[in-house]
Amino acid sequence: MSVTLPEGDLQSRLERYLKGFRNRHGLGESAVEGNVVRLVVEPNILPEVLATARDNLAVLHLSFITVVDLEGSFELTYELLDMRGGIVRVKTRLEGEEPVIDTVTNIYPTANFHEREAYDMFGIAFRGHPDLRRLYMWQDHFDHHPLLKSFEISTKRTFEGLR
């Protein structure tokens, strides 16, 4: 019934998380910054890393998934919270025009809407997602993914270099 949230000192907990990730996946680029454990992983092992976070390290809350269109590749940020001050920030980079990544809905069911939104806005396909429909945009007659940088809007007005 009840869920136990982690207790104890924040620093030692963060160290434990980092060690846990390193032991299992050997992530070289990981580090602790403030209260954040930063991980940079390859897209193919991302679900495994998240599964480690949830099942072994008891980081229970997936806060959000950010997708950034870097024009040619996509950067995905998964932010996990242990709800007691610690943050695990997993970054991964997807290459290509039609990116595919494994879903994490089986690990964090809350990712359902986040992934649908990412699919809607960026066209990222989440392999194995139970219900990959558009979240906001209408279902068809609309072939665009509006948050892509290639999707021009008419009122773009940045005054770069004007001053």
């Binding site: 009122t155 773009k156 007005r157 270099g161 004007l162």
Partner: protein
């Protein structure tokens, strides 16, 4: 029914009490609440003071301000300075955020206390302030882009 309607009777007592309370409605068109000092109503422009610096136009999140700029020697000093020949505030887009008021270096654009605005046509909501009307339907970006080289010059003038 565990408590046999006691909660219901309590609630009804409260509503009965309010039946005789003083009413809090204000009869709006008859009673006009004095607006606080900071309240942000419709924008207005004092064109005499405007130096056509385009700051308000740039900061506006909804592009509701469009300024048509021209170099003109207004004060007779011999140096042509930027002058706003066209100035439109499209109230159908305005957010009333007040950013333009804050960035204006000469305080020529400011909020009034007026907030009741209505029109039969959306275009009627665009209020013209300059001597030449600006088309509010055209997004101001192309104008700005075209003016980009021309804009550098007045800036140098201002610095000089």
């Amino acid at each position: 029914m565990p408590k046999l309607g006691q909660g219901i009777l309590k609630g009804m007592g409260i509503t009965l009490k309010h039946l005789f309370d003083r009413k809090i409605t204000r009869q709006y068109p008859d009673y006009q609440r004095p607006l606080p000092e900071r309240s942000r109503g419709m924008l207005t422009v004092d064109m005499d003071r405007c130096i056509a610096c385009l700051q308000c136009m740039r900061i506006c999140p909804d592009h509701c301000i469009s300024i048509e700029q021209e170099k003109r020697d207004v004060d007779g000093s011999g140096k042509p300075k930027p002058y706003a020949v066209g100035f439109v505030i499209d109230d159908s887009r305005c957010l009333y955020c007040g950013l333009c008021v804050e960035v204006c270096p000469v305080n020529c654009i400011y909020h009034t206390e007026e907030f009741e605005i209505q029109a039969y046509n959306r275009l009627e909501l665009a209020r013209q302030f300059g001597e030449r009307p600006v088309d509010p339907t055209i997004d101001p970006r192309p104008a700005v882009k075209k003016k980009k080289p021309a804009k550098k010059a007045p800036k140098k003038d201002g610095a000089a």
